[in-house]
Point group: C2
Chain length 279, copies 2
Amino acid sequence: MMKQLERIKEFGGWLERWEHESSACRCAMTFSVYLPPQAASQQLPVVYWLSGLTCTDDNVRVKAGAQRYCAELGLILVMPDTSPRGEGVPDVAERYDLGQGAGFYVNATQPPWATHYHMYDYVTDELPPLIEANFPVIPGKRAISGHSMGGHGALVCALKNPGMYASVSAFSPICNPVISPWGEGCFSAYLGDDRKAWEEFDATCLVNAGAPLPPALIDQGTADEFLAEQLFPQNLQAACVARKIPLELRMQEGYDHSYHFIATFIGEHLAFHARAMMA
Amino acid sequence: MMKQLERIKEFGGWLERWEHESSACRCAMTFSVYLPPQAASQQLPVVYWLSGLTCTDDNVRVKAGAQRYCAELGLILVMPDTSPRGEGVPDVAERYDLGQGAGFYVNATQPPWATHYHMYDYVTDELPPLIEANFPVIPGKRAISGHSMGGHGALVCALKNPGMYASVSAFSPICNPVISPWGEGCFSAYLGDDRKAWEEFDATCLVNAGAPLPPALIDQGTADEFLAEQLFPQNLQAACVARKIPLELRMQEGYDHSYHFIATFIGEHLAFHARAMMA
């Protein structure tokens, strides 16, 4: 059962918020979707946007300025939440980087997380058929993008599902979470002590293990306050170079980790995905 | 003394937040300014943006998507706060529509507001020379715009200061606050019981009294939840028709009162101001 929570006109199209009972996460999940004006009369390609730590579906729809470009390019944008939520869902109230708001796009195997924290299955298995059944999307014409934890999620979803996404992009992604404090904190809680299990959700490890990558674009600000400690784009780049996999990593001089950085380049990312999906 | 609180790169330019001691408001005031890339090498025209009830300088800079257009058009955008603030500044904690966050762009004459609540003087007398002394703006090349309470503010500032602003625009402005519950609440508190004093800060009354209007553009959504009770654009339009003053009032089908509406049309407003200031 899909329940519409909100419908707001924007750039001639509609920004909607929906709630549904998720089988992957075993709770009610919320997502937003932007339907550009073209969606009133035709099927369109879809871009999935995965948000970062502490975000809900709201941040990107308010802060990124993406809807203007979606209206220009004829793209549907789907914006899921970053974790399961609700009273029955485990959380660590004092931590922004574990529990609700910090699903990390994995399938948790450890208590108390294993019941609900299946964001990887939610994004890759549950959401695409739900979107394709309920909105005017061209079946199979998908791209994926995200920011920070969500950039990690986008890369991992693309690497683990060859052929599923025509293209992948990321802003300031956590490229090597097995050595990032954010990644170590979530992976140890959700996946347990076996670091081999962590590597299944690490873009750099997946490339090193031979996973193929669709056309990929990464923007990383050089003034990003999390770059040195958390993100490690150079490790993903080195892995791609070693395996001769093309990766466009752009170090953007002077930009930080915020949505002001995303707003600056989201138009180029959406145009990149539109080209890949029309190809 | 100007104190820089923040500096964030966006669209090749810089989004800055500043604090200064305001003589008009007798407290520290915060504003944001966006300097597009062109500002590094030349003087530019400036648009002042007045925000609505409950807002600070942050809402517009995060939600409107204006910086992209300012970078394209070569405009500086100045975003003041909506009221004086701080521990020594009167407030009504339980009300969003009176006190801090609700300065209404008037000069208060009544206790306890009269000491600090001089947002009209702040916007029209104090801020322009401060901006012109500290940023690369072309002296006198000014336009003003705003949303809701800030749309009211923009119209009133333009009407009361002929020649000061090359153009004025507004989204969902409170066009006739003397008969709007929001206006009545603030005007009675800030200005007292004499309704004649209120008319000095009411766009419709000012037009009726003969004030001239620079080139003016208003966008109003037809699905705006506050349209019928609070905004009265038809009264301003009737006043302008009666006095043969050109006013472009666009009723935008299906749009609400939110920043999603502003984001949709802010580019057209900024282009309108750029044309007027270049003329």
